[in-house]
Amino acid sequence: MDTVDPAVVAALARHVNPASAAFLAARMLSRRQAAGEVVIAAGGPAHGLFLLVEGELDVFVGPDGGQIRVGTIHRGTFFGEAGFFDRRASSATIRAASNVQVMELDILDFEDMLEREPRHAAVLLRVLTQVLGQRVSDTNHHILDESGAVPAGSGVLGRLWGRLFGGQA
């Protein structure tokens, strides 16, 4: 029988029902990284869905892997869900702001889950579409100027990135 970390199950249970939390926890890989290490590199391939179980992550954008910190990801937050759906590369670099524990569900393992356990896959997809939908909703309001871009220096950028990642810039 698989042994799963209760903290991981608890983090997942914030998002899905207990049975699905236990199922997913047993299929996600745990990764511990030290402060300063890169969790996701900008431009890298999308290969999984992530859940931050412990610690905090910083989000960077900009040239050469990102030099501008635009947000923080807090404990209990899913991230990487856009790439999980469309398989496109990340444009941001996610770096550990403290020692962190991150759980990863590999896309290939998820594809297997779709075939073998569609009930749990459906539960997870419902949550992820809600997470994505909330982010779209939060950022669709009042972000565009006449040209269709976010006005630099308008003060909205940090707040919006904070909303994007469930934290604060």
Binding site: I40, A42, G43, V59, V61, G62, P63, I68, V70, F79, G80, E81, A82, G83, F84, F85, D86, R88, A89, S90, S91, A92, I94, L114, P118, R119, A121, A122, L125, R126, L128, T129, Q130, L132, G133, Q134, R135, V136, S137, T139, N140, H141, H142, I143, L144, D145, E146, G148, A149, V150, P151, A152, S154, V156, L157, L160, W161, L164
Partner: protein, 164 residues
Amino acid sequence: MTDSLARRLGRTEAFEVLPEAVLPALAAALVEQRLPKGGLLFKDGAPANHDIGLYVVLEGTVAVRVPRLGGGYIEARQVDAGELVGLLGLISPSARRHANVIALTDTVVAHMPRGAFLALYEGHDRLSVAFLRVVGNQLARDLRRVDAALQTAATGKRPDTGLV
């Protein structure tokens, strides 16, 4: 009529991934609606109610106009035949509409009320998974558009890739 709608759904980008056998049941849950050019499909700020849900554009094109800083609206995107609009109304029961959606041409849409969606997918996990992947892909596309604008503002350069 339902068979005809089922065939049309099967030809849309949104639903072509679904098994043909489920399309009649899906079509039965949808309500066809016609809009003249300039007609308002839904309005920014409209509250959630039992009818909130998404729309499949079957014919024509609609514009999604979001509020802009300083007042007024700006056209964020156009949605053509075969695509979905109003996704947030389906997946978030407390959502308010966040844009005005207006027909740019004479348009035919099919409305899927949230309750009908939930009833249709209850107990049909594979169907649910297939449709949720369609929804997730479109939401990811929408979010990347916003992300590109944010990165442009942050760096002065438009990025080549999308969000994490």
